[in-house]
Structure formats: C-alpha cells, structure tokens
Amino acid sequence: MSVYAQPGKDGSVVSFKPRYEHFIGGAWGPPVKGRYFEDVTPVTGQPFTEVGRGTAEDVEAALDAAWAAAPSWNASTPTQRAIMLNRIADRMEENLELIAVAETWDNGKPVRETLNADIPLAIDHFRYFAGAIRAQEGHLSQLDEDTVAYHFHEPLGVVGQIIPWNFPILMAVWKLAPALAAGNCVVLKPAEQTPASILVLMELIQDLIPDGVVNIVNGFGVECGKPLASNRRIRKIAFTGETTTGRLIMQYASENIIPVTLELGGKSPNIFFEDVARERDGFYDKALEGFAFFALNSGEVCTCPSRALVQESIYDSFLADGIERVKQIKAGNPLDTDTMIGAQASTDQLEKILSYLDIGRKEGAKVLVGGQRAELEGDLSGGYYVQPTVFEGTNDMRIFQEEIFGPVLSVAKFASYEDAIGIANDTLYGLGAGVWSRDGNTAYRAGRAIQSGRVWVNQYHSYPAHSAFGGYKSSGIGRENHLMMLDHYQQTKNMLVSYTETPQGFF
C-alpha cells in the first residue's frame, strides 16, 4: 500500500500551476475575454487551479492555428506521424505516476485505476495507432487492361473533439490518436468538470507536436463547446456525452454537412447463466468480480454493467455471494493505492446519483446494500462519495432504464435464455453487455442476440485498442478504437485513370 501526497502538498509527484491558459498554435495564451473558472477536485471538494474560460473568439483562434498547420501536417508521412505518436507514448510512460495522480486529482477516481488502466491504456492507444497508420494501405483496382481505380486515404483537415469527464485523458486519447495518425489537426475541448489533467499532459508532450496540430480550448459547453461543434471550419465533430447534446451536435453537423461520431452511453446488461454456479472455482470467483464491476470508476463508465440479470435457479445464492463481494469494495482516499472506489467526478454527479437512489426507492426497488452518500473523514469530508449500491427490482423501473453513472447496480432475475435476452434488449441503449456461461454455445448465441456494440464474454471492462467500441440504438453512431477508427478521420480519394491513347468514341 502507498498513499500519494495530495497535489500542492510536500512530496506530491505532480504540481498544478495556479492557472492554465489555452494551448493554441503550440503556445499557451490567455482567453480573449480574460476570464477563468475554478477547477474543483472531487477528492476534497476544494478548488485547486483555474482554467481559461474560452469563448467563440478562442475557438476561432484555435481553428486559425489548426488550419495554418494543416497544409504541412495533412501532407505528413505515416512514418512522421507514427514517430510522433510513439514519442508521445514514451514520454507518457516516463511520467506515468505524475499523469496518473493528476488524473485522479481532477476526476476523483482511484489512483490504482489511473496507474493500471487509464494511463497505460492511453499510452498503448498512441502506440497502436502509430502501428496502424504504418500498416494501412490504399487500394487499387484494375478495371480493364488500361483503366485503374486508385483509392487513397486522405485526412479530413481539421476536426473538433469534445471530451467527457469520466476518463478525461483516456477519452481524449481515444479521439486524438486516430485523428493525428490519419493526418488531421485537432481542436479539442475538455470537459469543464475535468479540464486540468489533460493540460498537464499537454505540457509534458507539447515539444513533440508541431505547432497548431493539437489545440486545446477550455470553457463551458454553451460558451465554448457550441462554437466548436457548430463551426463551419471543422470537417468532423466527435462527441462523447448524453443524448440531448448528441442530437444537438448532429443538428449543427447537418447544417455544415459534416460527419459526426457520437458515443452517448448505455444501460448495459450483465447476464449470469445458471451454469456459472455449477462449481465454486476460479471461474465462479471471476463471475463474482464481474458482478462487482459496476463499481469500476465509481460507476462513471458508459458501459457500466448496471443491470445484472441472474438466472432464477441460482439467483439467491449467487446474489448473496455477489453482495458479499460488493461489501469488500474498499472506499476511501483516491490517492491510496488500496482504495477501490473513489469520488464521483462532480457535485452535479453526486446530486444526480442521489436523485436516482431516491426514485429507486419510490418505485419500490429494494436496497440490498449501500443506498446512501458515503461520509468520509478529514479533508475528504467535502468530497463527493457514494456507497456502492445494489437494488433489486424489475426492468421497467427507472433505475433499470436510465444510466445513473454512479456505483449503482440494479438486479433482476430471469427464467430462461429467451427471457434473459428479452430483458437485456429491453432498453433504449446498446453500448456494452456481459455474458457469463461455461457453455460456449450459450455464450455465443447470447452474445450475438444482444443488441449492443460490445459484448464481453466471461469478462468485463477490458478495453484493448484493437477491439471496436461503439453503440447500437440510442448509444450513438460510429466506433472508436480498432484500426477501423481511421475511417472516421479519413476521406476517400478515388483517382480513376485511363492509360490508353484511344478515345472513348462518344464525340
């Protein structure tokens, strides 16, 4: 066990500056209107730095810088891009603890997650797309003896990216790495709840990136996100967030006729078939971990397995064992490497989760464990903590239908395979799902029958770069991760060439 010192105190591996400006054109500069907003750490509820409060003027400056860099970066070779991405990855690896603690301080998640998941995954993402772009090839087709259709991958130019607060660095990297690999310049707006950690990262890597290729403008959604999303000078917009803003961004994109990728959340089912409990072995233990995975990142994951569906024949015993596992979740100081669940990212999030604990009870769901705000001691008492909570209820309840984005699990039982699939698919969303069975045929059929973009089988919450991630139904449009992601940041140039000297004969 070790406990990292709080940033700003003696012995901390990271120090935040008292103020961060925008990063535009390779340089740090103040917002045009000179305004800043405070960034609060959810660990203690106290502000720890302030960040530029960007407006349309800053977005325009960032777009000027990005377009100034575009002629050169758009034409860069895959080798140049891959070298840059690999260097960024190396620099991050050398500074893993610093970045991880910064991320924990900004977001509230346990440092064991940032050290072992968020930041290592981000590093690997850069390396993956460094490799992917080197290996990518265009196509050619010989249409007849003297006619050839060439298909070239070309960058879009300059793209906009709006980042969520649940994985501030990893979600930024999911968008940045493929965009840069494909040769685009980027204007990126972090979430206003977690604007600082990505600026710490940017300070570390800025010397590796040509001026104007990556530009970061902070600010509030309505003042800064909207001028970016609705801007006529972006060639694509990527957004992770909720459905109303997702629709609004599509609406703006329709006005500019540009593509969007949207990741808008889920209400992921996690199905435990009866054969899981056939033996009390390592597999059973793994399945119980799968049950408890709703608490990862304090439940603030779009794919949070927030609906556990357990087969009737094992329901009581499996649920009892699952609850025991949940009770083992160690809550506490996010900077303690033993802490398993940290703070919710903001007071807004805390309020929302509490409102769902309220409506869950009102609708008649039974609280099996947790169910309240967690009160921590000392300077953590001002932070935003919630007890891991398990509700028992039915799939028509609000807590089964809406993404709570907190450590809240809703459990229901099912009778048969058909019943399980019916309940699993009775949702507006289709982002993630889990299937647990020792029977490969059952697991395969269930995995194919569930309407979601990602189905984990006998595991959960793994995010390798080489697996496509994205939603069915109202969970969004497009995919992230995997080399197919390059398609979302490229356009196709078809060059149709005739190598004959003979006229076609029409005129």
């Binding site: 305004r35 800043y36 907003f37 405070e38 609060v40 509820g45 106290q46 502000p47 302030e50 409060r53 969520p164 607060w165 649940n166 979430a191 206003e192 709840q193 509030f220 959604g221 309505v222 003042e223 996100g225 999303a229 992770t240 967030g241 909720e242 459905t243 109303t244 803003t245 997702g246 629709r247 609004l248 609406q251 808008l264 959340g265 889920g266 779009c302 903001s346 007071t347 807004d348 309020e351 929302k352 509490l354 409102s355 769902y356 309220d358 409506i359 009102k362 609708e363 001002g382 028509d396 609000r398 239908q401 809406e402 993404e403 709570i404 984005f405 507006l428 969303y429 109202s474 969970s475």
Partner: protein, 166 residues
Amino acid sequence: MAEQAARGATGAPGRTEPGTNGGTGVGPAGIDVALEAAPAVPGETASRVGFTAAAVDLVRELWREHGPLMFHQSGGCCDGSAPMCFPAGEFRTGDADVLLGTAHLTTAAGGDLGPVEFWISAEQFEAWRRTRLVIDAVPGRGSGFSLETPTGHRFLTRSELCTVAP
C-alpha cells in the same frame, strides 16, 4: 478572475411534508413546487413537470439574458438525466419527441414573460412515463450546451411517482 466555484455542500431539495404541494401535480408531492407546467401529453389532465422556486429563479435569470427558453430532458451517459435549457427553438424537436408540458413564466413581480416548453424524446418518455419530473436548481457546474452552466448553478431533475395511471 475566477468565476464562483461550484463546490462543497450540495443543495438540499426543497422538501416539505407530503401533501403541502399547492400545485396541480399528480405526484405525492414530496417536493415543493412553485410552478406547474400545463399538461401537454394528449389525453392527460395532470401536470407532468413542476419547477421548484430555485429553478424558477434560475429560469428567470436565464430568460433575462437569453430571451425565450425551452427544455429538453436528456438521457444517456455523463450528464444524462439532466434537463437541458436552451434558447427557444435552438434544439429541433420533431416526431421523435413528446411535449411533456408548457410552463408559463412570469417575473417575480408577476409580470408576463412567456411559455417555456419542456420536451423529452418519445422513447425516453415511454421508459419514464410512470414518473413526473420536478425541476430543481442546485449548485453545480452543469454541462452539455445548457444555458445555466456559467451561473454556478444547474438544473436537476427530481422525480415523483404518478399517482394516477397516465
């Protein structure tokens, strides 16, 4: 200069004893409602959307700055479940949406301001139809493109069960 931080104590909802709600809400009225939206769902006569006094104050503040307003109830991840407030007409509604109600906004002195429509997507309405919504305002940062974000307060949807089957 730094804007006022949204931090520390979370806002307590305006809870009162059950039954003290003077509005026309169908819910069991666990929350004080200062403004009820007129029902708009075809065939329904009870209000599905109420606003607490804190929410009404915030809506008035935004109206003064931005003019006529609308709401669209969000769903999904991150700031999902938040009621998003936009300039009227900014968010394009259509056949995929349900108008839950229209609140008539006045100034604190009773002067006429105008209607505020409250929308939700039709598919989300189906999942939420057993509950009515009370829009509150609490300290917070907010997100999305909702207008209140820079104010240091944000709208929060609280829910009550409908006592009359809708």
